[in-house]
Symmetry: C2
Subunit: 623 residues, 2 copies
Amino acid sequence: MSPKITTELLKHLRQVMKNPRYVQEPVQAYIVPSGDAHQSEYIAPCDCRRAFISGFDGSAGTAIVTEQHAAMWTDGRYFLQAAHQMDSNWTLMKMGLKDTPTQEDWLVSVLPEGSKVGVDPFIIPADQWKRMSKVLRSAGHDLVPVKENLIDTIWTDCPQRPCKPLITLDLSYTGVSWRDKIVALRSKMAERKVMWFVVTALDEVAWLFNLRGSDVEYNPVFFAYAVIGMNTIRLFIDGDRMMDPAVREHLQLDSTLEPEFKIQVLPYGSILSELQAVGAGLSPKDKVWLSDKASYALTEAIPKAYRYLTPYTPICIAKAVKNAAETEGMRRAHIKDAVALCELFNWLEKEVPKGTVTEIVAADKAEEFRSQQKDFVELSFATISSTGPNGAIIHYKPVPETNRTLSVNEIYLLDSGAQYKDGTTDVTRTMHFGTPSAYEKECFTYVLKGHIAVSAAIFPNGTKGHLLDSFARSALWDCGLDYLHGTGHGVGSFLNVHEGPCGISYKTFADEPLEAGMIVSDEPGYYEDGSFGIRIENVVLVIPAETKYNFKNRGSLTFEPLTLVPIQTKMIDVNLLTEKERNWVNEYHQKCRDVVGAELERQGRHEALRWLLRETEPLAPVQ
Amino acid sequence: MSPKITTELLKHLRQVMKNPRYVQEPVQAYIVPSGDAHQSEYIAPCDCRRAFISGFDGSAGTAIVTEQHAAMWTDGRYFLQAAHQMDSNWTLMKMGLKDTPTQEDWLVSVLPEGSKVGVDPFIIPADQWKRMSKVLRSAGHDLVPVKENLIDTIWTDCPQRPCKPLITLDLSYTGVSWRDKIVALRSKMAERKVMWFVVTALDEVAWLFNLRGSDVEYNPVFFAYAVIGMNTIRLFIDGDRMMDPAVREHLQLDSTLEPEFKIQVLPYGSILSELQAVGAGLSPKDKVWLSDKASYALTEAIPKAYRYLTPYTPICIAKAVKNAAETEGMRRAHIKDAVALCELFNWLEKEVPKGTVTEIVAADKAEEFRSQQKDFVELSFATISSTGPNGAIIHYKPVPETNRTLSVNEIYLLDSGAQYKDGTTDVTRTMHFGTPSAYEKECFTYVLKGHIAVSAAIFPNGTKGHLLDSFARSALWDCGLDYLHGTGHGVGSFLNVHEGPCGISYKTFADEPLEAGMIVSDEPGYYEDGSFGIRIENVVLVIPAETKYNFKNRGSLTFEPLTLVPIQTKMIDVNLLTEKERNWVNEYHQKCRDVVGAELERQGRHEALRWLLRETEPLAPVQ
């Protein structure tokens, strides 16, 4: 992977930063955040402005360009990738390390007195604007909104914003109709004495209306906003997709409805002016509810006194707790996904020794097997298919320049998942197709111990996920090993593979408490730069637990793995496991046999079934 | 314990809340926080305003009185105590429970439109003012500073503010001279480009000048402020204590010094006007550094643009990392403390069966034994001496009305500590002087497993203490048990028994990373309302650990127990321990034998030595 040469681009950007055609006053620094106008993690090609200017295309990162410097902030998952993709114009700022300055502190340290720092007000979340603006102001600088996106002015071949057809989901998938979701939302609004709710996150719009799209790769969402009043519903969406009879029927656009369920469809681009009109028409006690991560531009449309901002919206919280239809859908999706992976690993086992399977071939094969399953829609993220040293690049994606051939001498790490119409999957398995070294087995086993510690953890109702993060690290810590990423993220139901408001990470604190029905990933790892990467990931469902004393009736929770793919026993040093851990592995494998075995049988995939049975043999007793 | 009758007091307070002599405009609510003007946790009698108005005298709690309501917010340690001490005029707001409103939300829910909420601006921390004020304003109310403290106006027999003599500490105790501490502070100030630093916390003033006092019971501090400039030192302190020749010598008040080390002594009450003068004289780029927990009154003295606020001051952070002299002092103090407790437990074992030992007698006896030790100054907090159901009141203090007699049928919990001139101690042991039930042993053993999980934890350098909190709960959680308090707090060196910026608690997030030399407590517990309380607490020192892979040279940390008091083996169900836990107990007890045994021998305390030897016999092997 050779870095993108950005000398000319940066020169051009620095020119427009001073060009009165685009900026009221010259800006001495320009911030290019990761996200789009919806603060999405995964974005459409037209929104990949940070990747365009820097070359670094990981999922998280913020670029700042000043007259003298160009710097990129990203986290531990991307240190290696960013270093590879960026040329020497760029300084990598490793977030999470002690000596790395914050963006604000860095700006203060490099800017001349009284500088202007520009940013697109549609791209920067309001909470981040507030924090940066405060620090900059107190150091004598100004954060200023630049209406025209400066990257777009120099990006001559910028792709069009996608506008693809929609998918309607019926009750068998969603469990709750969009009308009932609106009713529940309005009742939350009434509780907080709020008159309006602005839906800005793409997955929240999709969830609310039981619609899905494909405007953004991997995330089944579509570009739209919604503004929900106590008696009105406005949906801001472009294109002729609202002409689709199935969509019109689903949203009852042509029916005689109670007025409070009548959806008014408006152009996507009219959100700001419509919201400004809402803002201008508010009575003294009216409030407008927005996520505090909504864009600065939309937030400013509502006068400050009328804003009701929360870190998590009621939709975000409701969406996280899956109902019975969604949970069953997720189970089905994970069984199909396991079938595909049994096929893949069986195939790899035969093909790898021939020396013809590259990371890209393996990733494509995984997609091929998945696409054979019912209701398959697309992948849920770019497959991380990595062997040997590439495995240490935490969010690696194989490209021709880096594409390595799998061999019997290296560890292979596959982190992949799919969108099925009934659910979203995300699974990581680390395999060795030859004989792993004692050290590789040792590291794998510590990671497995951490995985089990979280998966089997019992905790009181109301516990926040971040309190479980250290359980995943304890076995690694004992030997002086660690990993620089969180342990888990929320997973959507045929929606984004990463979603809030819960997760398992030492980095967050404001996550919502875990409750039964929530779904998160459990994915500790260990990475040795230049050598290998290990990660073991299951998607797990929060379920009630049975405990001896049940927390004085507060209730007990634990996890049930939805992912049912064998964990390679060849990689396990059984002597490092406790009896309890060994039993966990054996019981997990028995469930894989029972559930996935039956499905392999049903699908007539006998060779993969034999592979599954062999890979799920009980572990030898601990010596 | 009968509740304080507050009907008349509240009536009186509600009158002054409307009396133009004290308030510019009537206030519809008045907030009475816990703290004093230094945001101390332990306060002098003259500052116990919340206890005066409500009867509840726990160390943490905030009272709010409106025209109709009186409500008290406190945390899990004090739910039972507060319920006992307050009459029916008061509503208890149990912090940490899901349905308990915040103070702000509650105010918004009960106040009539456009209300004024009053508070003493010297008592409320600036960060709390900001948070409350924002919520109140957005709901149409106003938080207003009431200069005269309204409780003081109705507290006719309010005691005088103490003004006791000072103790000077030489280098053998402090390891660093006050001049060197000023130099280090100024270098931190220069790093942040700050011209002034305002020392508002009492323990920070004491630490900075290597002085101690006794103005506040249990905390060896004195009422003072300091303002440190790059070339000036101002100490605000009352009374003739500055006339003491030892103090004058220590501070070199009468020597010819470089001007930047010359201390200017000013009256305690002049801090506000002096700070306002500093504020008025600032040049455009000057900054004044204050804790964001400094009082609203002092913070407001500095114009907003000139304030540099941080959650932890450089003194707070420097003070937390103990140097060699301080660490050795803490070790000595803990050995002496262990001698006193061996004497006590030996004595209790003989006396309890006679039925004559009450909780107060036991607490007094503990103090008596401690006071026999060299350099004993006072207790470090009110002894929690509690038997049977009183043990479930987490921060119980025996008083004649509640005083229970120790018996061979109940669990006894003693949480106590002392100030020695060389260090501060804090230790909890839970004992049974008869035959504990299987259930009591089961609970005790889970608590012990949690204690060991933290004490033996290995973690990478830079880990925050809150990430270790769940380790202490895991064994309890597995059985559906938990405790409603944090696991540990920072401990001062002959200073406050609770100090920042580190600790081990699920409740904090902004704690500073643990580093070698920090000292915290490790004190999980389990409480059964109406039956018993269990807690096992050691003070532990953060030390470098040896690990196989040492976190890629990031460095490994673990804890060394400073407390060396036997853990009652009679209470342990050995079969619930792992081999590793059993070895931990045996090694810990061996160290108690070696170190404390030698000191008991040296002090000729042969009976207590025999008790120690018996209590530290190795545990039977795990079956």
